[in-house]
C-alpha cells in the first residue's frame, strides 16, 4: 500500500513538473501593476512593435535578393516600404508556412501596425563602410544598390546585399535600440519610471515596457528557456521537425509574436549548439529575472537597490549579446578564410571560380555585416573596431587582389571606387587575425570555424612541459 502511494506521488510529481517548469520559464503573463489602470488587460507584457520590426527585417532581406541586375524602381520602392514605410497591409514574406510548420499570421499589422525600421536605425557614423554615412543612411544606400543587383549580388564589388543589409540591420536597429537605448538610458530612474504608465492609459509601467521592448528586440520565443539550442535554431529555420517545439500553446500554429525565433536569438542558439556557450539561456534568464524584479515593485518607483539589480541584469544581457554578435562574426571570418583557400585552389587549377566566389561574397557580407553591427552598440570599441575595419576592408578582395582589387570608397554620384588590395593569401591571413582579435577582445568560447582549430588540436596533444626536461 505504501509502495503504491509512493508510486502515485512520483507519477503525479513527474507529470506536473514539466508544466510548472514551463510556466516559470515563459516570458509573458506578467500581471498588470500600473496604478490607476482602468482597462481589461490582465497581462502587462508587450513587445509587438519589436516583433513587427523583426518581420519587416526578414521580409526586407527576401526582397533584397529579388533584383534582376538592372535598376528597378518598383523593387526599391517595395523595399523602402518595409524599411521606412508605416502602411498597413504589408505582407509577411518571411517566415511563411512551410509544410507542417504552419504560421498563424500573414500580414505584419496582424502583430503591430505603423512600425518601420528606419526610424529606429543607428544614427551614428559607420566608419567601417565608405561614404561617411549614418547607420540609417548606410541601410538606405544598400537598399538602393540591392534593387539594381542581380539577386542581391554585385559581381564587380563582391557585395551580397541581402546579407549586408540583414546582418548590419540587426545591429543598427535591434542591438542598438536594445543595448544603447532601452537597457541603457531608459533604465535611468527618472526616465520612464515604474510608478507611471509607459504612456497614458497603457496597461504597463514605464520600466515594464522598456524591459519588454528590449526583450522583443533580442528575437527569442517567449518559451526560449525551455528550448534546446537546436530547437530554438530549428524554429528560426521554420523546419517542420521543430513544429511541436515552437507551438508552445499547442494550437497547431506558430504565433509569430510569441513562438518564433528571430535575429540574434537565432545566432545565440547557433553558438550554443557548440556546447561551449549558453548565451541564449543566460540572456533569457536575465530578461526574466529583470522583468520579475520590475513586476515585484507592484507599480511603485524602483528603489536604488532595485535599479542597481536591474542594471546588473541589463549588463549580463548586453555583454552576452555582444558576444553573440562577435561569435557570429568569428564564424564567418572562418568561412571567408576557407572560401579564400578554396578559390586559390580553383584558380591554380584553372577551374571555374564562379560558384566558390558567390559563396565567398555571401560569407563576406555576413562577416562585414556582423562586424559593423558590433560597432552600433553605443560602446566605443576603440582600437578593436579600427583594427577590424582595416583587416576586413570596405569590400572583399577580388580574385587576384592587387590593383583595383577592393572597394576603396564611394564617389559623389554614389558609385564605388576601387583601390589596391592585398593578395588573396594575405587576405586569408587577415581573416585569421580577425578571428584572433574577436576571440581575445570579446572572450569568445564557441569559436566556430576557427581557422587555427587544427593548430590548437595538435598543440593540445603535445606535452609542452615535457620539453623543460634537459639532459
Amino acid at each position: 500500500m505504501k509502495t503504491t502511494i509512493s508510486l502515485i506521488a512520483v507519477l503525479v510529481g513527474s507529470l506536473s513538473a514539466p508544466l510548472s517548469h514551463a510556466a516559470d520559464d515563459h516570458y509573458g503573463d506578467f500581471p498588470v501593476t500600473v496604478k490607476g489602470y482602468s482597462g481589461d488587460r490582465t497581462d502587462s507584457t508587450a513587445y509587438t512593435g519589436q516583433v513587427a520590426r523583426h518581420l519587416l527585417h526578414n521580409s526586407l532581406k527576401k526582397l533584397a535578393a529579388r533584383g534582376g541586375g538592372e535598376p528597378d524602381e518598383e523593387l526599391e520602392a517595395r523595399m523602402m516600404a518595409y524599411y521606412a514605410g508605416e502602411d498597413d497591409g504589408r505582407e509577411i514574406l518571411d517566415p511563411t508556412t512551410q509544410g507542417g510548420f504552419v504560421i498563424a499570421q500573414s500580414r505584419i499589422d496582424e502583430i503591430s501596425a505603423g512600425n518601420n525600421l528606419s526610424g529606429k536605425a543607428y544614427g551614428g557614423a559607420v566608419t567601417g563602410w565608405p561614404g561617411a554615412m549614418t547607420g540609417a543612411e548606410v541601410l538606405e544606400f544598400m537598399i538602393g544598390k540591392a534593387a539594381a543587383a542581380d539577386q542581391g549580388f554585385d559581381v564587380l564589388t563582391g557585395y551580397d546585399y541581402p546579407q549586408l543589409i540583414s546582418k548590419f540591420l540587426m545591429g543598427a536597429v535591434f542591438y542598438n535600440q536594445a543595448v544603447d537605448n532601452y537597457l541603457d538610458e531608459r533604465l535611468a530612474p527618472d526616465v520612464k519610471p515604474n510608478d507611471k504608465p509607459y504612456s497614458e492609459g497603457a496597461p504597463y509601467t514605464g520600466k515594464e515596457h522598456v524591459w519588454d521592448e528590449a526583450f522583443g528586440y533580442f528575437g527569442a520565443p517567449a518559451h526560449a528557456l525551455s528550448l534546446t539550442p537546436e530547437q530554438a535554431y530549428g524554429i528560426a529555420k521554420a523546419d517542420e521537425a521543430f513544429m511541436d517545439a515552437a507551438d508552445y500553446d499547442s494550437d497547431g500554429e506558430v504565433d509569430l509574436y510569441r513562438e518564433m525565433t528571430y535575429a540574434h536569438a537565432y545566432y545565440a542558439a547557433d553558438a550554443d549548439k557548440s556546447g561551449e556557450t549558453d548565451y541564449l539561456h543566460t540572456i533569457i534568464q536575465a530578461f526574466l529575472d529583470g522583468r520579475r524584479l520590475i513586476t515585484s515593485a507592484e507599480g511603485e518607483a524602483l528603489t536604488d537597490e532595485q535599479l542597481a539589480a536591474l542594471q546588473s541584469h541589463a549588463d549580463t544581457i548586453k555583454s552576452n549579446w555582444e558576444k553573440v554578435i562577435a561569435e557570429a562574426a568569428f564564424k564567418y571570418a572562418g568561412s571567408v578564410y576557407k572560401d579564400l583557400n578554396k578559390l586559390n585552389i580553383i584558380v591554380e587549377s584553372d577551374g571555374d571560380p564562379r560558384e566558390a566566389f558567390r559563396d565567398y561574397a555571401k560569407h563576406w557580407g555576413e562577416l562585414k555585416g556582423f562586424t559593423l553591427a558590433l560597432q552600433t552598440g553605443g560602446k566605443d570599441l576603440g582600437a578593436t573596431a579600427v583594427e577590424l575595419n582595416r583587416l576586413i576592408g570596405y569590400g572583399p578582395v577580388l580574385l587576384g587582389g592587387g590593383k583595383g582589387g577592393q572597394v576603396a570608397g564611394i564617389d559623389a554620384d554614389g558609385n564605388y571606387t576601387m583601390g589596391d588590395a592585398v593578395t588573396m593569401g594575405d587576405y586569408a591571413v587577415n581573416m585569421i587575425k580577425v578571428q584572433r582579435l574577436l576571440a581575445d577582445s570579446f572572450d569568445l568560447k564557441a569559436l566556430k570555424n576557427d581557422a587555427t582549430a587544427e593548430l590548437h588540436d595538435v598543440m593540445e596533444s603535445l606535452n609542452e612541459s615535457q620539453s623543460a626536461e634537459t639532459d
Partner: protein, 337 residues
C-alpha cells in the same frame, strides 16, 4: 588564491610522476628498474641482491648531491609555474609561422586524399621527434660552449651522483631556454604540417605521449641519470645514445669533456664529431672539474652563483672584444686624406 596556487603546485609536482608525457612517469621508472636489474644480473653476472644494492645505493639516492636534486626540482616546479605562462608559447609560434606561410605560398594547397592520413600522422610524429632531438643537441652544445650559458648549465653538471631526478636539476634560466626551444620547434613543425595537411595532422601516441618519446622513455631513459652503466652494441651507439654514453657526458675525465650532447639520437654527435662510445666496466666520476663537491649543492650555488659567474663571463667576453677592436689596424675611410 593561495590555496589555488598550492593546488596548482601540487598538481605540477605529481604530474611529473603520473603523466606518461614526463620522463619520471612511474611506469618509465618501473621499466628502467626492470631493465637495470636484467642488465646487471644477466649481462654483468650480479646476483639479484647485488643488483638491487647497486640500483638503490645510498650514494645515488640520498647523497648531498641527490638531496640537492630534490630541492631544485621542488623549487623549480614553483618557479616554472609562474614563468611558463609568461613565455613564448608553442601556439603563439605556430600561429605566427602559419600566418607567414600563407603570405609566402599565397594560399594553402588542398589536402591529400583521406587514405594518406596515417602517412601524415607518422611523418609528423617522426619529423617532430627528429627536429626536437636535433634542437636539443644544438641547445645542449651551446649550453656547454658559450661561457655565459655554461654558468647556468653547470648546475646540472655539478651533480656528483646521478639518479633519475637529476634530469630536473637545472637552473630556471636553462628551463626557460628549453621551453623556448620547444615552442619554436614544436610550433614551427606543427604550423608547417597543418598548413599543408590541415586536419590530417595528428600525433601518434601511446598513453597520450608521442610514440617515439614513449619508446625512448620506456626503454630506460631514466638510466641516463643513474650509476647503471648500460651500454649498447657499438654500431647501435652511433644511432642511439645509450644510458652509459650519457653518463660519459657527465664524466670528469678529460677525454669525456664536451662529448655526447645528444638526447635520444647519437647521429648528431657522430655528424658533428662530438661522439664518444661508452666503455664497459669503466668507473666514472661525475661533477665539474675545479668545483669543490662540498660547495656546489647549496641553494646559493645552485640559484645565485650562475648569475654572478654568467655576468663575469659576459664582462670577460666584452673586454676581449674591445681589446681586439683596439689592436686591429685602423682602416682609413675612402674620403680621408
Amino acid at each position: 588564491m593561495l590555496e589555488q596556487a598550492a593546488g596548482s603546485y601540487f598538481d605540477a609536482l605529481t604530474a611529473a610522476f603520473v603523466d606518461p608525457g614526463k620522463r619520471l612517469f612511474l611506469g618509465y621508472l618501473g621499466s628502467a628498474l626492470v631493465i637495470a636489474l636484467v642488465w646487471l644480473t644477466w649481462f654483468k653476472g650480479r646476483s639479484l641482491a647485488q643488483a638491487c644494492g647497486e640500483v638503490f645505493n645510498r650514494e645515488s639516492w640520498w647523497s648531498r648531491s641527490a638531496r640537492a636534486d630534490y630541492r631544485v626540482m621542488a623549487l623549480n616546479s614553483a618557479i616554472m609555474l609562474v614563468l611558463s605562462p609568461r613565455l613564448l608559447s608553442q601556439l603563439g609560434v605556430s600561429i605566427f609561422v602559419f600566418e607567414w606561410m600563407h603570405g609566402a605560398f599565397q594560399g594553402r594547397p588542398g589536402p591529400p586524399p583521406a587514405h594518406f592520413d596515417w602517412v601524415v600522422m607518422m611523418a609528423f610524429t617522426l619529423c617532430l621527434f627528429v627536429l626536437d632531438d636535433f634542437s636539443r643537441y644544438v641547445v645542449h652544445r651551446l649550453l656547454h660552449r658559450v661561457p655565459f650559458l655554461w654558468s647556468f648549465h653547470k648546475v646540472h653538471h655539478t651533480a656528483t651522483s646521478l639518479n633519475p631526478l637529476t634530469v630536473y636539476r637545472t637552473h630556471p634560466v636553462e628551463g626557460v631556454l628549453f621551453v623556448l626551444r620547444s615552442a619554436v620547434v614544436h610550433g614551427s613543425c606543427t604550423a608547417v604540417f597543418v598548413f599543408f595537411f590541415a586536419n590530417q595532422v595528428s600525433l601518434a601516441t601511446v598513453l597520450g605521449a608521442a610514440v617515439f618519446n614513449f619508446a625512448f622513455n620506456a626503454l630506460g631513459a631514466n638510466l641516463r641519470h643513474s650509476h647503471v652503466a648500460l651500454g649498447f652494441w657499438r654500431p647501435v651507439e652511433r644511432v642511439f645514445i645509450s644510458p652509459a654514453q650519457h653518463q660519459v657526458h657527465h664524466s670528469l675525465a678529460r677525454r669525456h669533456v664536451d662529448r655526447n650532447f645528444g638526447a635520444a639520437l647519437a647521429i648528431w654527435d657522430v655528424a658533428f664529431r662530438t661522439h664518444c662510445h661508452s666503455e664497459a666496466d669503466e668507473t666514472l666520476r661525475f661533477g665539474v672539474k675545479g668545483e669543490p663537491p662540498d660547495r656546489v649543492h647549496t641553494l646559493a650555488a645552485l640559484y645565485w652563483r650562475p648569475f654572478t659567474e654568467g655576468g663575469r663571463a659576459v664582462w670577460r667576453s666584452g673586454a676581449r672584444f674591445l681589446r681586439a677592436g683596439a689592436t686591429r689596424p685602423r682602416v682609413q675611410s675612402p674620403g680621408a686624406r
